[in-house]
Symmetry: D2
Subunit: 336 residues, 4 copies
């Protein structure tokens, strides 16, 4: 229930020693982990690597469209998906149903139009989604040195909210189909994806990663969830995902965003001897300002890319415009 001044867990509470300025930034904040993008797009930037995307790149991406085939990269948004067991699942409720009308609802006394109406309660980090830049911090700081205390119950993520990206996530999408390239149905849990594997796959597919790309990396892991009868195996197994060594690679490639068909992007068990959880998240989101897509569905897209033998496309992947949020569900559309 407490912490040391430095933020380590403790039974007692000692206040931090820093102060926070009127912009919500920790005064004197320095990020000594490299590489990082703090300050790269200004001291008050809350968007990170999506800044790489220029309107020209969007126009160029639109010019990639040939067949006009549109493919959704979203899993079904319902209670059967791979929501992390630490989060309650999605609930879909009806305010009034067609069955009500068959039974004769009082609603029908007021109108001869028979409407049905529904509600959704969902973890914003529990389906095909973007993890926004307010989702992960360390040392009490989010991306660019914004104070993590800006994220409150009362009014949400007052800094680095995913709604800042509402019109920034459309552009050139590139898919790297790792299992396809490696000739396996899926990468195995614990498989750490390295820069070498990514380069080899890109080369084999004949596609180049460029500044501003939204990079999709297929692992086949989420499809395994759906195939499994006993879902507890899925959560116990760990996951294939990017290794810590990819951080510099993603930084050097200047990608705008990264999305994958696993649950947490990075390889599990985690690659950090010190016991820090989600160490790659920490580096990518907090230090690079890289927005991460999780639980995407890349099966149809991979098949289509293979059929058309092209791995680049227009990707339209706006988050919902949720005010002051740490993440957002979405339905990403790839247009070939």
């Amino acid at each position: 229930m407490g912490r040391t001044a430095d933020g380590a867990w403790a039974e007692t509470w000692t206040p931090p020693t820093y102060t926070v300025d009127q912009h919500g930034k920790v005064v004197g904040a320095v990020n000594d982990r490299t590489p990082n993008n703090w300050g790269r797009w200004g001291e008050l930037d809350e968007r990170g690597t999506v800044n790489f995307i220029t309107p020209q790149m969007v126009a160029d991406a639109a010019a990639l469209v040939r067949t006009g085939r549109a493919i959704s990269c979203a899993i079904p948004l319902d209670s059967q998906g791979p929501v992390h067991p630490s989060r309650p699942g999605l609930m879909h409720f009806y305010g009034y149903t067609g069955a009500d009308h068959v039974a004769g609802s009082v609603l029908g006394r007021r109108t001869r139009t028979q409407a049905t109406d529904d509600y959704l309660l969902m973890p914003l980090q529990g389906s095909t989604q973007w993890d926004g830049l307010a989702h992960i911090g360390s040392g009490d700081m989010l991306y660019n040195g914004f104070w993590i205390g800006n994220v409150q119950a009362y009014d949400g993520a007052r800094r680095c909210s995913v709604h800042q990206l509402k019109d920034r996530l459309v552009g050139r999408g590139v898919l790297l189909d790792l299992p396809g390239h490696q000739g396996v149905d899926r990468l195995r849990p614990g498989h750490g994806i390295t820069p070498e594997q990514l380069d080899a796959c890109a080369q084999a597919q004949g596609v180049e990663i460029r500044t501003g790309d939204i990079l999709l990396v297929r692992t086949g892991h989420v499809p395994w969830f759906y195939a499994l009868k006993d879902k507890s195996k899925f959560w116990a197994a760990g996951a294939p995902g990017v290794a810590m060594s990819t951080v510099e690679w993603f930084h050097a490639r200047e990608i705008a965003a990264l999305a994958m068909d696993n649950v947490a992007v990075e390889v599990e068990p985690f690659e950090d001897a010190s016991g820090t959880s989600y160490p790659v998240h920490n580096r990518l989101i907090r230090d690079l300002g890289l927005t991460l897509g999780e639980i995407w569905w890349l099966e149809e897209l991979a098949e289509a890319c293979a059929e058309e033998d092209r791995w680049e496309f227009l990707l339209s992947a706006a988050p919902l415009n949720v005010t002051n949020a740490s993440g957002s569900p979405l339905n990403p559309l790839a247009v070939l």
Copy 2:
């Protein structure tokens, strides 16, 4: 609490006289209201007018992109928006916050990564949204004669769900800026939009409506909500919206979808002497199978179109992939 066999409200309940087949269709269903699209795309079609959109049209729409400027057409997804008073509003909850980390959460005992995590509860018909084809019926039937009893509390809209449209709502968008054309800041409540007004606006803007278009019609009504201090005035005032006479016009134009910046597309008070509520909804959704967009935000898009003097663009407007749902929020992106 009951109904007559024909579906009218009653204190007692008498069962309907029809039966329903194994496809969920009312046996012998006939739609004698014209025009309608029942059967047009097959007896089991659940998607309606989005069927007008072909891959070639999508490719042509992508070719419209010039500047690469992307514009979101979504209002902020939060508790301050124009949710109809009959629905409880949107709630955004945090499972754990940055303020928790400042105070020293037990969550920090387990990990040095400081995460924040949030939840959203929302009416699916209460923000920038698509009304799917399961949202409206009459005579116990949805679009194409599907039985309204297919929409249940237990498993939602088993027919005509919005998830059927998950990859169908990208294509050529056309904006008709009615207040811009008429030289007013907004259309007044009660203003019924007619085919003549739509034609005149299109002609003045120099844009043609074509088969498969996603048509956006600006009224300026939702911006008025945000400008009003006393929101109750908004709900009491009625609304500008399309008149009953546009039904045939939309049908003849073969548009794929219609979206507007009011709350319920149609003019209010309703234009039906018999007291039927939402009579235009009823015709457009149930009879034409036309998916309707409501509470869109068209201010920036209208300005950009005026600046570039072009009113057509690539519109990427996929709903969320919500299983068996009557509607879905979305963040529509127009790319110019």
Copy 3:
């Protein structure tokens, strides 16, 4: 997605052949299962066996109080309890927190009083609870022949709601501690509790069951849930609970309500060769009109009763006054 006229599952839908009167009752409804209490307290009674309790019985129950020791029979209402896996769990959210105030919320700009405020989302059948009479039916009928179609998404249980019991569930409580009597820590899953076991326990405890009693039966099953590390074992194991043969016994004893420390009162696997699920529920709730308490916590109460060697007490066990609901959580208080 359909049913036969008689209510059996089918791919097609055929309407029922009955009608429903203005009171919400199936016309001509007859219950040929015996014993049953249909009509016993009038044709329109929605409360069932709680009608056994008279004010005099409540006064007599109050006179049982000697030491004034009050004992709660509720499990903690949080996400760690034995919510049936078919239901999403309980969620407790904060609208604003103390940590927000430490971080300096904008809420503090408006007031120097520092408030915290919370929300609960819960399955009404997922914690220490009463199953109301609208919870279970068969043959399209609830208790007393009320039509099950009265229970709708739009306005809930218009008949037999648990709120009808808002002031009826206080009276004489009697605890039968079966594992205590049998000298075991808990009854094993699959153990069917019979009239003989109940009688033997009552006799050994020296307590008599009387008309209007609220009977508590301890099994030790819910405590086993909390003790188990792997909760999936709990759900796979079945449960100890009352056997079908107790139905007549409960009826003859004229108890007002029955509450137990298992999840569904009755023994699991179910005792019905025909495959009907929850057959005892069906008989007790629908036919007798007996309100059932589930997931109660009887450990401290059993200890106290053993210490004081008396097994009767004042029990105050009002449900929440939830309008038109099928069940309600509660915090039952036994006062010795």
Copy 4:
């Protein structure tokens, strides 16, 4: 988004200067507002004035029961109640309905028992309720000097939770019917209730307030809400409620809890020239440790007390056993 070291709102954030010990108490905390009960029941007490209630008092209260008439003091728990406009209202959802069964749910394929199942989402401070001791603080401290930072999004109110009172709120209830005594239908908004008024009413009713009583004070204000057509008038009008001068009176009487039929116990507009909101709450909850009941329904109870000409009774008013919560709904039962 920030605060000064002393806790005043500011654009920047400066850490507090205190520390918190392993018990969650602010080190060196002193309450210089008098009267207060800090330390009265030990340095680690989290329950406050309910400690006044002894088992003997509970037994004595049970002995007050004569007629056995039980009266609920809860408003209907639904979306029509006086939830403060700053909170979203209560939502009652059905997971499966009787209407589903009439329409033929797939649920029916698995079982011939027809069940209905529901969910409730509610503000814990939005109906007939207890405000627990974690609900209100000032100067970063709750009752007894516990740190307000103990109340977090992640795990709720780790100190002073309402679940600490799960078996403490049964005892002697006394009703003071102020409008009845004053010969009016209800107290008017802005009417400040003083010690003199309380004394005069008690004397006229012939009832004495004693240590450990749960005191109910009727104003008639919540009934006015239900009678009003335009609910906005209710929220604009202010409220009758206890004046600041009652704090010492409640303290001297050593009551265990106070419950009223208004929304926030205290008179509105608030009686604090400095602009502090809810100043009486602040004194009663934080300084005295007095649990407050709000939005109770006292109409039937007042009538019954007048009929029987006795104003004392057994009151059974346990909160739900919500883990780590700031408040709880309840259904209080008075037994005469």
